[in-house]
């Protein structure tokens, strides 16, 4: 739960991970205000101290002046011994509250007058001034005046002023703090918050929002730069979004866009009875074009196809490239399934116009899987899968056509899916069985070999033929596993054959094309043979022409290794595919298997006879053994023998059977009495393959 919460709230997670947010405004205030306060207090104290000293000096000077002026006033009464007047004049100075006491002494030093403001009052300083008397005839020092005065008032005043300055300083600091707080909020906090808000909104929905800051200061510049960056980011995000949902080569929407489109379509719905046509297009043999003309030409080819698709559809239609050679065309409104089919066919026709690549005409071929659903169908988002089912059918059954998804296809699809999902269980529970069908000498009726044929005994679907499940095995990447499974079984069978007194019978194994690229196959073969104590020369490997073409060099290498071990190589299904004579010469082949298509009508078809004849004479020339598949009737065997085909395989001799049945069947066979068998016609068609 905790983890989920953390996941669902990345912001909170991020904040929790970061150190606690400290506001820049607060930091500024904390950095400035104490300094401001300190400076203010120091300055105030300094100013006050200087003022105090100045006042002290002023007081001293004033007292000196008082003493001087009193001395002048007192001089005459003192000299003339009007001591009452002296006292009177002296008393006048006591109006000055700072003066604590004053005294006048005559020229003998006797105190003539003395006044005290407050008995016991403290006096910190004293000033004395001589009293000089002069008239026209004389100038004498008549005495001196002494004034004791207190600085207490000054100290008290300085103290109270200091207190006042402190209070004013604190108030000023407080006011500054508030002003800073407000202005910082306006000039810093607000633009930052605006940008932060823009960032948060951008984080929330991935769009780049501008910050709403109009000031012309540095933050305004920052915000404009930020907005420019947001604009750039917005463009980049748009491009990124476009890139995420579009194919860079063709510019068409991609698979992701398709998913979104379908999600949107299923949400918006539309009229419930409208039909949506979904065409899944796959180019046939695009790999061949890439291989032949190079990847650049392949890209150009894809671009041309995309252009054609665009041109072929209407404005409301929607074209996408899912990757590789897969395209999708959606027509959001079709009247019925026929119209949809006609539309798909038109698209297919548009694709199939010839294209010039490197001055060569190439006719693109494609298959289309078409699925049609109502707009309100809850399975609308599964349209790609459904169309793919149809496409699979088209490609496997009728390449270059439009296949419409119907019930049967869906059934097939479900069966196919079930089978594919059951493959691991099949291997684990040993549901795969190897059956064997004998290969017979047409002259002597002697069994010279057995072809190992794979079967799947499925608990629900019964015995499934290889034609149905082998493509699924290949698609699920289990080819190698199955081949080793068959190889092991074949070696065990050779052991049993030898034990049953038939050591001359060899076993042929079908190699899927992918195995030819596997360099470890030869080593695997040798190890397995060694494990069962059988000679590798008792193994024949059947390959198809198609598997050679895809990787000529690698295939040739593998084949040579296998042959060096003693195994023989047979070319399967010859005559149906490329039937390349060059292949016959280039690869180290020992045997050629003539496809049963030439065999079934050979008794009546002169053409088939001619083809088989040519093949036979060619094989004879190249020193290759020929074997005919699908022998069902004795006449066919006779015809083959006449044309020089040595070996045959088919129901005429034996149906594919589990090894025990084959061994029992062999036991019943007289050494060279195969005619009886040959004469008994089989009426049961070959089970499979």
């Amino acid at each position: 739960m905790r983890k989920d919460e953390a996941m669902t709230d990345p912001d909170r997670n991020e904040q929790a991970a970061l150190p606690r947010l400290r506001s820049v405004v607060h930091a500024m205030i904390w950095a400035t205000v104490p300094v401001l306060l300190l400076v203010q207090l120091l300055a105030s104290a300094g100013v006050e101290a200087s003022s105090f000293w100045s006042q002290l000096r002023q007081l001293d000077a004033r007292m000196a002046r008082v003493a001087e002026s009193r001395a002048e006033l007192i001089a005459e009464p003192l000299w003339k011994m009007r001591y009452d007047q002296v006292t009177g004049v002296l008393k006048e100075v006591m109006h000055d509250e700072t003066i604590a006491a004053a005294a006048v002494y005559d020229d003998t030093g006797a105190a003539i007058a003395r006044v005290v403001a407050r008995p016991g009052g403290q006096s910190a300083a004293e000033v004395s001034h001589p009293i000089r008397y002069s008239n026209g005839n004389m100038a004498v020092q008549a005495g001196r005046i002494a004034i004791a005065y207190s600085r207490a008032t000054l100290y008290a005043d300085a103290g109270s002023r200091l207190m006042l300055l402190l209070v004013v300083g604190l108030l000023a600091t407080f006011a500054t703090l508030i002003a800073m707080r407000i202005s910082a909020n306006i000039f810093i906090g607000r633009p930052l918050a605006a940008m932060m808000s823009a960032i948060q909104r951008s984080k929330q929905d991935g769009r780049a929002y501008p910050a709403d800051v109009t000031s012309s200061n540095e933050f305004g510049q920052l915000a404009r730069a930020f907005n420019a960056m947001q604009h750039t980011t917005s463009g980049a995000l748009d491009r990124l979004g476009h890139m995420a949902t579009h194919d860079p080569l063709t510019g068409l929407p991609n698979r992701r866009a398709l998913t979104e489109r379908l999600a949107v379509t299923s949400q918006t719905g539309g009229a419930p009875d409208t039909l949506v046509a979904f065409c899944f297009i796959d180019l046939d043999d695009f790999k061949g074009i890439n291989d032949t003309f190079g990847h650049e030409a392949g890209d150009a080819f894809l671009v041309q196809i995309s252009q054609r698709l665009r041109r072929a559809v209407d404005a409301e239609d929607w074209v996408a490239r899912l990757g590789g050679d897969e395209f999708v065309v959606i027509r959001p409104e079709v009247s019925d399934e026929q119209a949809a089919h006609a539309f798909a066919q038109r698209v297919l026709d548009a694709i199939s116009e010839p294209i010039r690549l490197h001055d060569k005409q190439v006719v693109p071929r494609a298959s289309i899987g078409l699925a049609v659903r109502h707009a309100d169908d809850p399975e609308l988002s599964h349209l790609p899968t459904l169309a793919d089912i149809a496409l699979y059918h088209a490609k496997s059954k009728a390449p270059g056509t439009v296949a419409v998804l119907d019930e049967a296809l869906q059934r097939d699809y479900r069966r196919r899916r079930d089978i594919e999902l059951a493959i691991p269980t099949g291997f684990a529970e040993g549901q795969f069985e190897v059956w064997y069908q004998s290969q017979v000498d047409l002259d002597s009726y002697e069994v010279v070999g057995l072809e190992a044929l794979i079967r799947w005994r499925h608990p629900e679907h019964g015995v499934i033929g290889p034609g149905e499940f082998l493509p699924l095995i290949e698609r699920s990447g289990n080819n190698a596993r199955l081949t080793r499974y068959v190889l092991t079984d074949a070696c065990r069978a050779l052991q049993q054959l030898a034990a049953a007194g038939r050591p001359q019978i060899r076993i042929a194994i079908n190699l899927p094309p992918s195995e030819l690229a596997d360099h470890s196959l030869a080593a695997e073969l040798r190890a397995t043979c060694a494990r069962f104590g059988v000679a590798a020369s008792m193994i024949e490997l059947e390959i198809t022409e198609g598997s050679l073409i895809n990787n000529i060099a690698s295939a040739s290498e593998t084949l040579h290794r296998l042959r060096r071990l003693g195994a023989t190589i047979a070319l399967d299904d010859f005559g149906t595919g490329y039937s390349s004579l060059a292949h016959l010469r280039r690869f180290p082949l020992d045997k050629v298997k003539i496809d049963k298509a030439f065999i079934s009508e050979i008794t009546d078809s002169a053409e088939d006879k001619a083809i088989v004849g040519v093949i036979a004479s060619l094989a004879a020339t190249l020193g290759l053994t020929l074997i005919a598949e699908g022998m069902e009737r004795a006449e066919q065997a006779e015809a083959m023998r006449e044309m020089g085909v040595r070996l045959g395989q088919g129901f005429l001799y034996q149906r594919p059977q589990p090894l025990e049945a084959v061994l029992q069947w062999l036991d019943r066979q007289p050494a060279v009495a195969s005619r009886v068998v040959a004469d008994s016609p089989s009426i049961t068609p070959e089970f499979a393959a």
Partner: protein
């Protein structure tokens, strides 16, 4: 001894004078009675000015002059109003006697000039700007006949010399070998005070062994003089000065100094001398008690002498023949002559003075002898001897 001879000589003169006076007064008598008004600047009870008025009236009785005294009660505005009133009278007096105290008499002088009333300034004459502006008598102001004043500077010097003589005799020098005396002036501004003080200075300057420690001012009053003297004596004690004498500008201040000296443990007359001025009764008593060395003065007689001058002027013997400004010398009363004038002053029996004897002799207009000796001579012998 010299004084006894002098007395005998004076008595002879007096006798001869009485004879002449009787004849003279009879011989020149008498054109007409005079009508004199005196605007007294002083207050009723103020000894000096009372005595001035009394001598003036006594002289008037002897010289056939009616003297009307108007008292200003020390209010100069009142004095001026009185003066203007007299000048404006339809029946104008023959002479108006004024005293220019605080220069308040000047407007009255001018008014009298306008009204044609003859004036005489007594005791205080014009000073300063007024003197410069109006010049000497009988020039700009034709009716201002002149003035009669006392020579107080000589009085001051005489007083100082008496102190110095006594101190020298008693060898009252201080440790520095000098005779230290204290001067107590009435004030520093009035001509009467300035003259006396100048006399003191004159005498002391002439005596190199004498120093005036202080010239103190006591506002003419006894109490203040007592206070400053006490201060001085205390100071002198601290300075280890032996105070030899105290010169006081008038008698009340001399009496204050006496009290202070006694309070300071001194014995005036024995180890310190004090001099005063004014011939006051108290001073005479202190002289008699041998505490006061002398009191100079007699200038209250200016009242009588002024009537003498005006009588002579009215009778055609103008005192301006010598000078319109008559300066009368004062005299000192000591233990020696106290007996002669003490009773006169004490009883204010100024009618005993025969003012007719002081009139100028024929052909010698302007020449007067207002000395103490002349005065003593004018008194009836029996009474003087008896005292």
């Amino acid at each position: 001894m010299g004084a006894a001879k002098l007395t005998k000589f004076l008595r002879m003169l007096l006798a001869a004078g009485m004879v002449c006076g009787v004849f003279g007064s009879v011989g020149r008598s008498i054109a007409k009675p005079l009508d004199i008004v005196f605007v007294n600047p002083g207050k009723t009870g103020e000894v000096y000015w009372d005595m001035v008025a009394q001598t003036m009236q006594a002289a008037g009785r002897k010289l056939d002059a009616h003297v009307e005294v108007l008292t200003s009660e020390r209010n100069y505005r009142t004095m001026q109003e009185l003066g203007f009133g007299v000048v404006a009278r339809p029946d104008k007096p023959d002479f108006l006697i004024l005293s220019n105290e605080e220069s308040a008499a000047v407007p009255i002088l001018e008014a009298a000039e306008a009204a044609g009333v003859k004036t005489l300034l007594l005791s205080n004459t014009l000073i300063g700007e007024d003197a410069v502006r109006l010049g000497p008598p009988r020039q700009k102001l034709k009716t201002w006949l002149g003035d009669i004043t006392t020579d107080l500077q000589t009085a001051g010097a005489r007083m100082a010399n008496a102190l110095i003589t006594a101190a020298r005799a008693g060898k009252w020098q201080s440790a520095d070998g000098k005779i230290h005396i204290l001067g107590i002036g009435g004030d520093e501004t009035t001509p009467a005070s300035i003259a006396r003080n100048a006399g003191l200075k004159l005498a002391v300057d002439a005596a190199s062994d004498v120093v005036v420690d202080r010239m103190l001012f006591a506002n003419w009053t006894q109490s203040e003089a007592e206070r400053v003297t006490a201060n001085y004596l205390s100071w002198a004690a601290r300075k280890q000065i032996r105070p030899a004498g105290i010169w006081a500008g008038n008698d009340p201040m001399a009496l204050g100094a006496l009290r202070a000296a006694i309070a300071a443990g001194l014995v005036p007359g024995e180890n310190i001398q004090v001099v005063g001025l004014n011939w006051s009764e108290d001073a005479l008593r202190e002289i008699k008690a041998d505490r006061l060395l002398l009191t100079d003065g007699g200038h209250f007689l200016l009242g009588g002498w002024s009537v003498v001058l005006l009588r002579d002027y009215a009778d055609g013997c103008d005192f301006a023949a010598v000078s319109p400004r008559v300066e009368v010398k004062t005299s000192a009363i000591t233990r020696d002559n106290l007996a002669s004038v003490g009773d006169l002053i004490k009883t204010r029996a100024f009618d005993r003075i025969d003012f007719t004897r002081f009139r100028a002799k024929a052909g010698r207009c302007g020449q007067y002898d207002f000395s103490l000796d002349a005065l003593i001579s004018s008194l009836p012998v029996a009474e003087g001897v008896a005292d």
